[in-house]
Symmetry: C2
Subunit: 224 residues, 2 copies
Amino acid sequence: MTEDLTLHMNAYLPLRDVVFHTLREAILKGELKPGERLMELQLAAKLGVSRTPIREAIRMLEQEGLAVTIPRKGAEVAKMTEKDMQDVLQIREALDELAASVACERIKPEQLAELRQTMHAVEEAVETGEVKRIAEADVRFHDIIYQSTGNPRLENILNNLREQMYRYRVEYLKNEKNYPTLLEEHNAIVEGLSERDKGKVTSAMQKHVKNQVVAIKEIIREQG
Amino acid sequence: MTEDLTLHMNAYLPLRDVVFHTLREAILKGELKPGERLMELQLAAKLGVSRTPIREAIRMLEQEGLAVTIPRKGAEVAKMTEKDMQDVLQIREALDELAASVACERIKPEQLAELRQTMHAVEEAVETGEVKRIAEADVRFHDIIYQSTGNPRLENILNNLREQMYRYRVEYLKNEKNYPTLLEEHNAIVEGLSERDKGKVTSAMQKHVKNQVVAIKEIIREQG
DNA sequence: CGTTTGTATTTTGTATACAATATTCATTAT
DNA sequence: ATAATGAATATTGTATACAAAATACAAACG
């Protein structure tokens, strides 16, 4: 009976949430491009709802840093400059290190097993060369680590920061020459966590983040 | 809930922003207490606006972590458990350390002067014993450091995390026996920054954050 | 020409109306 | 008494209406 109730609740998810998830996906997938205007009436028509849930979803996208609103002008998909990217990566470096360190203390055997499994999933995805699959597996890999910290707020902030770079990171993953490094680093992270070797884990994590900086910067410079 | 919330009208700011700032202040000052419901019609009547800007402001408060919405039930002022506080402080520790470290490299002479001046403002406020003044000066002190990092996103996240604890931190500042430690730590931070001594700054900052943990935990336990 | 000005159009901001859901509380049945 | 029931009420969710501001563009002017 309680299960029916919860399922029911999910079925009646407020439209603002549905719209929010829809727009979020569209932005992350690149269907809505950085700088593109988010016009309420247009989106409302396209999604078959009124402006109200659209407006609320836009406020939520602002929350995630995926949209920027200029009063009386409207909202647009957030652009990231090279400086923005640097700033985000500086924070990610610190927090990924924190997450790695805490995970090292708290990760449970079953999470470690899942992590190892996901690492293999990344490897397989790399072999197929399907960028989308690689990206998804990689997100899952890091999310397991974030979850294993037992700090939902940290998990949330880190996912947020990752999200903001996602659009650019996909480009990074299109370049095959980055694959070997990526896999090695994942391996080092898993090994370090298995051995509860904090130094190994954090340094591997730092390298992992830093390696993306140069490549992503280049991509941003191309896009202007 | 009989507080007289009054709008600080600014002709060119959308009402949602005015409402947002008003509610935010009320929450931080404790006029709206953790767990208190935020009812749209009631707030709209009290502030003399319609529900629309109220709803948008609530979405923005959610963004800041100051409100929590349950679909079809409504929003309420966010409560923090001891665990939440621990989680936040764990992140703040890492990011305050980062901020201190970056500030050490980048802080400009005029910012350092302002910081020193603000440190004295805190000292003076402590002498008067006016908690509100102490809190405000202390916020300014840390904000100068955050600004000096030249990383607006870091500044934003840190201010956010501080904000979420603000309501509880005020209680901490009511206890006079905390004052000497507070001032010493501020002094150590300023000295460290002046000497560009990264180790000194970051360790002082860490102590500064950690010292608040125990006291704040106690306060939360009292409030349930 | 280039600039300015005025008007039509688009778009956002705000209020309100209506629908769906949750809550309250008196009533009834057990 | 206690629990279940169900209308009355309160509250949120969504759509729409109207106001204000921004924008685009064409006509008037220098």
